[in-house]
Every structure is written in structure tokens, then in C-alpha cells.
């Protein structure tokens, strides 16, 4: 341990107590990465905060000792957002796991950041409510992490993302002051800083108290499955459902490769088809009845095979279990896999999926496709074998080229996993130098000294080289037929 680190550790112990400080090398290694396990950095120190005051004290220590800090929830993030900085402090929020208030009349729940996503729903389910954002990791991921990443989930197609469900935040700013954004009321004045903070990946401060909007559980939920001869066919069904004015709560597609892996993993009873479409409808029973009719008509018109409707909650859960386990199930068909997260306009799904198929052939690596089709959010799973020299690099290149295809189709670099360290150097694919410079101005306004989660979200010369990858003009833009976003 360096002298600086020793002094920092002593100061932390003096301020917060031995119990709140992790400094043993063995223990520090527990924090060396998040869900992006390929990149690891051991921090100088971990502080286990139990209160907003603790967080303030921890940030103040970092300022005094001029070291960066990284906030961490459950560490399930997939983009390296909670990757420590060497010589820096990780501020763990997992001890702050209390549900502070359940205000049913307001339909709000106030929680600490370490509360898990699912715990919120569990706390209000008995009263007929639930918390809508449902990332696949909801059993373990924390609300604080959801705020940092603006997490979505399968049902955000109808209900929106974390940013649409958080009404208030207490934030410990990088200067250690506490600022309140919003509250139980949705009325605020001035720029929407609540909206800016959510999804800022821990770079603008640390949320220490979060007010959530809860929703009434719909009276009726129906889940349908349909098999198609091709992923394109399933994609067409998605477009038709949308065109019919049906706002499904979720529409998910899995291709044969992912289906087979998921089936092998959890025996969901999926049919053996080229592509499987899962549609969920919810609302009043009349509404769901009517929409089911429309969706079935579309399935019939498109010659879907194996159309099934879940007959019970148990069966519905089974339909979903395979989908939610799809990533992990890839371990059965490949020693290693990389989860990509890109977005395309829904209408461009077929084009981009074809491109992914070509890229897969070119690179000689298999790609499984599982995606939130309703909102164009792709999760291609690039399969590789780390024991084969060069395979990982090939997988990374392939994954990057998929992103390029998404951005060229008018899409985005990430739909829900975040930029983190993983995609910071890819930001110039989507944003110009000026775009990034303006984002940097926003960051400076919150964090002039650059101590909050440095190296994440925006490309830095140290991370990406002096000249980050080129921003490529879209062909339509080049032709003057469209402008960039």
C-alpha cells in the first residue's frame, strides 16, 4: 500500500469506523470488476456507506486526498460503470438497503440506493402494486444502480425506463454537498436535472435516497408465443402489431441458437423454430381480450406456427423464464460469450439483422440474437472461445462492427447497458466532437475536479488514444438527405 493510500485508509477509519472500511488486498479484489468481467482494476479502498452522511464523508475524504471515487451497488452492470479506478475509492451502497417509506395514497415508495429492484415490487405487491422497470437482473441489481444506468427491461416498451419512474432524488454532489431533485410531486421548475442525473452512470454524483412511482398491477395480463420461419418474419409481426395500434407491454424475439440454449437451460417448453416471438399484453380484461384478437389475426396472416397462449401464471412465468435466462444459457453452447447492446429504429430491424448474419460469417463466429424487438433493442450474443488465441479480439471486433451497423441505421450505441468503460471509446461513432464537448461541459458543471467515476461515459485520450475513432457521416447525411442526431 502506498503512503497516500495508507493515509487515506487511516482517515477513512477515523471518520467512519473500522467496520466501514475495506483495505485488505484479498477483500479489495471482490470489487475489482462489475458484470463486465473482462476488465479489472483493484481500488485503493472500499468504503461501505450506511447513510447519506457516510457517503458525504467518503466524498469529502476523496476530495481532501485528491482521489477519484466510484459508486457501486450490486455490481451487476454490464458496461464497466462500477469499474474501480486504481488509487481511488469505491463507495459501496449495498448497506443502504432500507425501504424508508411506502406511501400508497401517493403511489410512491422512498428507498435507499442499495434496495434491490425486485424488493420494491415485493414490498408493495400485497397492496396490488408493482415497480415497472424490470431489468433481467432484478433479483439482485439495486435501485441506485438502476438510477445510474437508467435501466429498462422487457416491459419498458409500454411503461418506460427508470427515468420515467423516479420522481425524486437526494444526491451527494462531487463537492460532498447534498442536493434534492424533485420529490413526491412531479412538479419541478428549471431544467430537468432529475432527468439529467438518471442515466449519468455515476459521473455526476451519488444518489442516496430515491423516490419511486409505483403502478397498479394490471387486472389482466396475457402472454403469447409464436414461432416463425425466420427472424425477419418475427420482426414483421412486431411491426404489424405496432401498426395495428396495439401497445404491447413487451415484445421479445429469440433466434434458433438462443432458443435452443434457453430450452436446454430451463426447459421452458419452447417450440423448435427459427425465431420465437413472445408478446405480452396487459390492461383491463376487455382491452386484453380485444388486443389478443388482433395479435392472433396478425400471427395467422403471417403463417406463424406453434401459437400458444399462456393458460396460467405458472405457464406465463415459464414462457418468461427462458427469455430471462437466455444470456446465461449461452454458457451451454459456447465457452464464452459477449453480450452486445445496440438499438435500431424498429423498421430497420431486418436490415441490421441481415448485416449481423453477414458479420458473423465474415468473422467465423456464431452470434445468437435475443432482443427487445418492440423498441429495437438488440442483444446479439457473440460466441467465442477464450482458449483459442485471437478469438476474444475477433469477438470484440465483431461486436464493435454490430454497433457501427446500429448507428448507421439511425440507432444508438446502447439501449440499456450503458456506456461505462466498455463503450466510452465508441462514443465518437455516434457523437461528433462538439456533441461530446458539450456533454463534457455538463459534467464539469457537476464535477469540476473530475473525481466522480472518471474514465466512464466520455472518451478520454488516456483511454482511447489522442484521436478517438472517427465519427462517420451517415450516407444519407452525406447526401444531404438527413441530418445527424
Amino acid at each position: 500500500m502506498t503512503r497516500g493510500a495508507r493515509e487515506l485508509c487511516d482517515a477513512a477509519v477515523a471518520a467512519l469506523g473500522r467496520d466501514a472500511v475495506v483495505s485488505e488486498p484479498e477483500q479489495l479484489r471482490t470489487y475489482e470488476c462489475d458484470g463486465l468481467t473482462g476488465t479489472r482494476v483493484v481500488p485503493a479502498l472500499v468504503i461501505l456507506a450506511s447513510s447519506a452522511q457516510h457517503v458525504q464523508e467518503a466524498v469529502r475524504l476523496c476530495n481532501t486526498h485528491d482521489v477519484p471515487f466510484v459508486a457501486r451497488g450490486a455490481g451487476t452492470g454490464l458496461s464497466g460503470g462500477a469499474l474501480p479506478v486504481a488509487d481511488g475509492v469505491v463507495i459501496s451502497l449495498q448497506r443502504m438497503n432500507r425501504i424508508l417509506e411506502i406511501d400508497l395514497e401517493s403511489e410512491r415508495v422512498v428507498v435507499e440506493p442499495g434496495v434491490t429492484n425486485l424488493a420494491v415490487t415485493q414490498a408493495v405487491a400485497g397492496h396490488g402494486y408493482y415497480y415497472a422497470p424490470d431489468p433481467s437482473s432484478q433479483q439482485v441489481c439495486t435501485i441506485g444502480g438502476n438510477v445510474a444506468e437508467n435501466s429498462g427491461g422487457a416491459h419498458c416498451l409500454k411503461y418506460g425506463f427508470t427515468v420515467n419512474h423516479v420522481t425524486g432524488l437526494d444526491v451527494v454532489m462531487p463537492d460532498a454537498t447534498l442536493v434534492q431533485l424533485g420529490g413526491k410531486s412531479l412538479h419541478t421548475s428549471g431544467p430537468d436535472l432529475l432527468g439529467v442525473f438518471i442515466g449519468s452512470e455515476g459521473t455526476l454524483g451519488i444518489a442516496t435516497q430515491i423516490t419511486l412511482r409505483i403502478l397498479r398491477k394490471p387486472d389482466s395480463v396475457r402472454t403469447l408465443l409464436a414461432g416463425f420461419d425466420s427472424v425477419d418474419g418475427a420482426g414483421e409481426a412486431v411491426s404489424d402489431v405496432i401498426a395495428a395500434g396495439v401497445l404491447a407491454s413487451a415484445m421479445e424475439i429469440m433466434d434458433r441458437l438462443t432458443l435452443e440454449a434457453a430450452e436446454a437451460a430451463v426447459s421452458a417448453g419452447y417450440p423448435s423454430v427459427e425465431a420465437l416471438l413472445l408478446v405480452e399484453l396487459d390492461g383491463t380484461s376487455d382491452q386484453v381480450e380485444e388486443e389478443t384478437g388482433r395479435v392472433l389475426e396478425i400471427f395467422e396472416r403471417l403463417d406463424a406456427s406453434e401459437v400458444r397462449i399462456a393458460q396460467s401464471d405458472v405457464e406465463r412465468a415459464l414462457f418468461w423464464r427462458g427469455r430471462k435466462a437466455a444470456f446465461a444459457a449461452m454458457g451451454r453452447v459456447s465457452p464464452n460469450y459477449y453480450v452486445q447492446d445496440g438499438v435500431v429504429p424498429r423498421s430497420k430491424l431486418p436490415v441490421v439483422l441481415r448485416r449481423i448474419g453477414e458479420l458473423s460469417q465474415e468473422h467465423g463466429l456464431r452470434v445468437g440474437n435475443v432482443f427487445h424487438a418492440g423498441d429495437g433493442n438488440l442483444h446479439p450474443l457473440v460466441l467465442y472461445d477464450a482458449s483459442i488465441p485471437g478469438d476474444l479480439a475477433k469477438a470484440e471486433r465483431l461486436a464493435e462492427e454490430i454497433l457501427v451497423a446500429c448507428v448507421e441505421a439511425g440507432g444508438a450505441l446502447t439501449g440499456e447497458h450503458g456506456i461505462g468503460t466498455d463503450k466510452a471509446c465508441s462514443m465518437p461513432l455516434m457523437f461528433s466532437k462538439d456533441d461530446l464537448a458539450v456533454m463534457a461541459r455538463l459534467r464539469r458543471a457537476f464535477d469540476p475536479d473530475g473525481r466522480a467515476n472518471p474514465g466512464k461515459l466520455l472518451p478520454t485520450p488516456r483511454l482511447c488514444g489522442e484521436v478517438p475513432g472517427p465519427y462517420r457521416e451517415h450516407p444519407l447525411e452525406k447526401a444531404g438527405r438527413a441530418e445527424r442526431f
Binding site: 442536493v179 434534492q180 412538479h187 431544467p191 436535472l193 383491463t284 376487455d286
Partner: protein
Amino acid sequence: MQSVSERVEPQTAEDASLALREAGSAGMTVSLDRPGGDLVLSTARLNRVLEHEATDLTCVVEPGIRLSELDAVLARHGQRLALDPPGDPTVGECINEAMSGPRRHLFGAVRDLILGVTVVLADGTIASSGGKVVKNVAGYDLAKLFCGAQGTLGLVVRAAFRLHPRPETISTFAVDLARPRDARPLLTALTTLNLPLGALDLLWPGRLIGLVEGSARVAQAQLDAAAQALGARQVDNDAWERSSERQRQAAGVVAFAPSDLAEVLQSEPMALIRPSLGVAYVERPIDSPQSPGLLHLQGRIREQFDPGRVLVG
């Protein structure tokens, strides 16, 4: 005597950028779409629909277009922007003032519907954030920053929105409500019914009105349910115009925890209330001071975006 402001009506982001740069170097102040600066930068001619991707349920527009004009374009494909503030503001005004109307109950406010922006800062920098896809977490969300910024951070020259299908029918029910203590039981009964209402407004004192949108059959079932459980009666849809009018005429806004509704009703003789949002539009001005920490932060953001204080809010 006040000097007469110059007025510029740029047609492109580049024109707006040039005008801002020139004004800045001449030491002039600029106001965006409103009087106040030495130069008034107007979005009157930045008023096109740039894209309407019907199959994607998204559109990209310039800020000078009025909601009614945009609605006419979207209606051709049976879609709409579910934003219904009073009057017929431009899209730019909706963003600058963070406007919303009754449908915020279900669809959210501008900040919930906006997908991306291109802005021009006071120094002429043109920058984009977000995109035109409904799901996107790449980079900071400048679109949200500009919602409610009242033109103090820069000029929005382009914005992308998510759209919704137009409902087949729109109908309205009303329940009388005159005593503060009756409000909570009524809302609880309504919650128990679990109707996916498009809007829910309390025109206090007087009545609670609910907006039912959907196919004729589904809407009728909801109206019947409300009638049976709450004694609601169907009323003309122009009830929402009265609601809008009250919102437009309000001098102040009371923000409250929705569970404190009864207290608000006790203290406000007259108000338009959105109970689920915790927002009451009242006739008297409300002084709601912001915390010093928040003001400080807002000041630092302004300092970063417009260090020369060219823009007057």
C-alpha cells in the same frame, strides 16, 4: 424609451449558430423566441417536420412548429404526440417551459416523450444528444436538460419524439366532488377499479373528470364500470377545454405529495388539480423558493453553457 430589438428568423441550425456568434462578439444579449434581448432569435421559420417514421412511431421536428400543425401531419398515419398543454404552443415552447396537459397522467410530460435534441449554444456550438430511437442510454441526456431551461442554455433547433397511436374513440366521465373529505375515498375507489385512464383532473370544487380512450367497446366498458362503482356520468369531451382554460389562467402551481390532497383541498378555494401528479394549478402566485444547493448547481450549468451571459431567460 426602450430600444427596439433586432429580430432574426434563422432557417437552419447553421444560421442560428452564426447569428448567436455574431451577437456574442458584438456584445449583444439574445433572447430566444421572446422579447428581452438586444437580439430576438425567433424559431418562426424553423418549423418543419423533418421526419415522421410511422412504423417506428417517432418523428423529428423543428421547434417552431405548433402542436396543431404537427398533429395534422401525424393524424394522416393515425398517430399523435401525446402532449396536450393549454393553447397551441410551438414544440420549442413546450420544451423550454416543460409544458404538459391532462394526458401527463398516462403519457408523461415533454421530458418523457422527447428522444433527442440538437441545440445551438450561445457561442454557436451545434450539438446533439439522444437520438431518434425510443430506447437509448448513450451519453448525457441533453434533451432533458433543455426541458424547462427557458431558453437560458441555448436554442433547440431540432427535437425527436416518441409517438402514440390515435385512439379510436375519446370519451369523458365526471363525478361530483365538493367536500375535501370525499376526495380520498373517491380516488381510492377509482384506483380499485384500475382503469387505464388517459387523464384524471379535479376541477375543484366541482368535479373529477376522467378521460377514457380506446376502441368503442373497451371505452364503453370503462365508462360503465365508472358509472356503476362511482356514480360517474358521461359528459361532453369539452370538459377538457375548461380544464385547459383553468390551467392556462393559473398564476401559481402548488406541488404536493399526492397523499396530501385533502390538505390542499382545504386550503385552496379553487384549483385545477392533477391528483396523481401532485400538482395543483391555483389562481394566486405561489412562491416556491429553490434550495441554495440547487440554485448553485443551475448557476454552474449556465456558466458552462453560456459563460458570457449572452442569453437572457
